[in-house]
């Protein structure tokens, strides 16, 4: 049982503000992911929550209690480090039981708790080993085990999977999600990998330059990005952006003219702009479709075949567009193609980067993460 509240958190490093006033609320048992490009402050924010970094101004509240001046060990949190930070000269058992040993917990009780954590993580056979004799995935599990043994109110993860190879990462992702269900704990997770963010999070916090750009469920960020940065950051390959001219702007839709001459009516609230304005139109590569009667046309410059899907880079009116299409597409480089998109899939961004609100909310936005898993979908519905 734990909630976390950040009120206008600021971090100053010798005159440079790296966190510029962050407000955030984390509910009990929520899985929150901080995501953003390198240097956006996500790790600093996590370290401030952990107590490893001081807070320049603002309040950190855990379960409603102000924690700014409380030491890292007394906050009741556990952290899993990117480098795992296992103690190399201790066995797995000693690593996991170190916090209990410092707390002077009797040996028998200590062993019992370590064994319980080891059972959850399937580490029973490795307890006598030193970290050096473990594989990357096993070290990762020991680091998580060390966090579990402390029975924290909130788990903090600092890019825990970035040192693992791709296959192991997929496996650990599922394991972490299972762990979240089993432990029923609040977790805060920092990553730069958006697949981790999209698959594990109840709530994603997108950070850039020390500012929260958007907080929301994964599908909300994908379908309703608040601004151009979030739109470009979430989704891979990146969203295509192109400048368009407004023909007609009304509350129930905005008509825009594409550079090639095609005209689209995008169902967004256009009450803030008027005809003649220049807006930025964003459309995801997977929402562009090859269409012989489509309004856009251009020459293919690069083809990336991934088997299941194919990415086409198309030069169109001086802009490079990326299309994600069927893996079976037979086009060759320098072929001329026509393509288009469903207007409802497009996003319009004003001069200041803010998105114009879509008139309809996407139906998947309110699906909870729990409903995506067989083990918990039953009791959620």
């Amino acid at each position: 049982m734990a909630t976390l509240e950040l009120n206008n958190i600021v971090k100053d490093f010798a005159g440079t503000q790296v966190i510029k006033g962050v407000d955030l609320e984390v509910k009990d048992r929520e899985f929150v992911v901080f995501v953003g490009p390198s240097g956006c402050g996500k790790s600093t924010l996590l370290r401030m929550i952990a107590g490893l970094e001081s807070v320049s101004s603002g309040d950190i509240l855990i379960d409603g209690q102000r924690m700014n001046e409380v030491g890292p060990a007394e906050r009741g949190l556990s952290m899993v480090f990117q480098s795992y930070a296992l103690y190399p000269h201790m066995t797995v058992e000693d690593n996991m039981g170190f916090s209990l040993r410092l707390a002077k917990v009797p040996k028998a009780e200590r062993r019992e708790k370590v064994l319980e954590a080891a059972r959850i993580l399937q580490l029973e056979n490795l307890l006598e080993r030193k970290p050096k004799a473990l594989s990357g995935g096993q070290r990762q599990r020991v680091a998580i085990g060390r966090a579990i043994v402390r029975n924290p109110s909130i788990f903090l993860f600092d890019e825990p999977l970035s040192n693992l190879d791709a296959a192991l990462r997929v496996q650990m992702r599922i394991e972490l999600a299972r762990l979240h269900e089993e432990l029923d704990a609040t977790m805060i997770y920092v990553t730069h990998d958006q697949i981790e963010a999209m698959t594990m999070a109840d709530k994603i916090v997108v950070l850039q330059g020390g500012i929260v750009e958007q907080v929301g469920s994964p599908m909300e960020l994908y379908h309703h990005p608040r601004n151009r940065f979030v739109a470009g950051f979430i989704g891979s390959p990146k969203m295509n952006f192109i400048d368009v001219e407004v023909r007609e702007a009304r509350g129930e839709g905005v008509s825009v003219r594409l550079p090639g001459g095609g005209e689209y009516s995008v169902p967004v609230d256009g009450s803030g702009c008027q005809a003649g304005d220049t807006l930025s139109l964003g459309i995801r590569p997977e929402h562009l479709t090859l269409d012989d009667n489509g309004p856009l046309e251009g020459d293919i410059t690069v083809i990336e075949r991934l088997g299941g899907v194919t990415s086409l880079y198309v030069q169109c009116h001086g802009e490079e567009w990326i299309l994600v299409t069927d893996g079976e597409v037979s086009h060759r480089v320098r072929d001329n193609v026509r393509f288009g998109f469903a207007p409802a899939r497009a996003h319009l961004f004003a001069e200041d980067g803010l998105a114009l609100t879509h008139l309809e909310r996407h139906p998947l936005v309110d699906v909870e993460r729990r409903q995506n898993r067989a083990s918990t979908a039953a009791d959620a519905s």
């Binding site: 060990a73 480098s83 103690y87 060390r146």
Partner: protein, 283 residues
């Protein structure tokens, strides 16, 4: 075959360098050979050894050697570790402080012994005498009343920077994440030192002990310059005893026997040491 040929010059030079003195020492140790009297000559059998091994001076010198090595190692390793932790902290002027603390290592042993003798420990002019007087104590005549202790202090002063240097570089390679993880686990500064820093330094400490021991077994200049092994044999170690035999008594045979005993002693120590260090380096 070609690789042998190419290695031969270096290997044979080293072999010559080592074998010739060793064989000569062994040869002389079985000879009657006194520089004062050319008529005493010929094969001595084990006489030189029996004479030496039954001489109480040898056992005094051995004891002094062990005391000297043991105490200097204890002081430099413990002091070096604590100083390394101190100099790892951020403080104003750390760069200059580090440079100053390492400086004694660059002073040659004779000079530092002279500085200690004439400026620090002198019973009339010395800084320590002045300090003792300042606090109302009787000044100590270091070299006559505490000869071995004085030598230990001087040698420790010379070798502390070496231990500090090695341990400081080792401490700098300690992963910050580990310290932070320990802090999250509830470890205070002392617990972090005991459970994280010290185990991390284990390997570096064993290297310091090995290297220092090799040099400390043959300490000579400091004794020669300050106490000349005295009073009596109170500060004579094995190296100095051999010097007394060879160049004060002019007994080359006896000195060579002493040299052979020193070689045996050094090898026994080295075997134990290299074994333990090698074990540390493996794990």
């Amino acid at each position: 075959m070609r690789s042998f040929l190419l290695q031969a010059p270096a290997v044979s030079l080293l072999l010559l360098w080592m074998l010739v003195p060793l064989c000569m020492t062994l040869w002389f140790s079985f000879q009657r050979y006194n520089l004062l009297n050319p008529f005493i000559s010929g094969f001595a059998g084990v006489d030189n050894y029996t004479y030496l091994l039954t001489d109480p001076a040898l056992w005094t010198a051995m004891g002094n050697t062990l005391l000297l090595v043991g105490w200097v190692l204890a002081i430099t390793v413990v002091g070096g570790t604590l100083l390394a932790v101190l100099f790892q902290q951020e403080f104003f002027g750390r760069g200059i402080a580090r440079l100053l603390v390492i400086a004694p290592f660059f002073v040659m042993p004779t000079v530092s012994a002279l500085i200690w003798k004439n400026m620090m420990m002198h019973p009339v002019n010395g800084v320590l005498a002045w300090l003792f007087n300042l606090f109302g104590f009787q000044a100590v005549d270091w070299f006559s009343s505490l000869p071995l202790t004085s030598i230990i202090l001087i040698v420790s002063w010379e070798w502390l920077p070496f231990a500090l240097l090695i341990l400081l570089t080792a401490i700098q390679s300690l992963d910050d994440d580990q310290v932070e993880a320990a802090r999250m686990d509830g470890a205070g500064p002392i617990a972090i030192f005991w459970f994280i820093t010290l185990p991390h330094l284990k390997r570096a400490i064993s290297v310091v002990i090995m290297i220092e021991m090799i040099f400390l077994l043959t300490i000579f200049a400091e004794i020669f310059v300050t106490t000349s092994g005295g009073p009596g044999l109170a500060s004579t170690n094995l190296a100095y005893l051999i010097y007394i035999r060879a160049l004060l008594d002019f007994d080359v045979g006896g000195a060579s026997a002493g040299g052979v005993i020193a070689i045996v002693l050094a090898n026994i120590v080295a075997i134990f040491l290299i074994r333990t260090v090698a074990r540390h380096l493996e794990t």
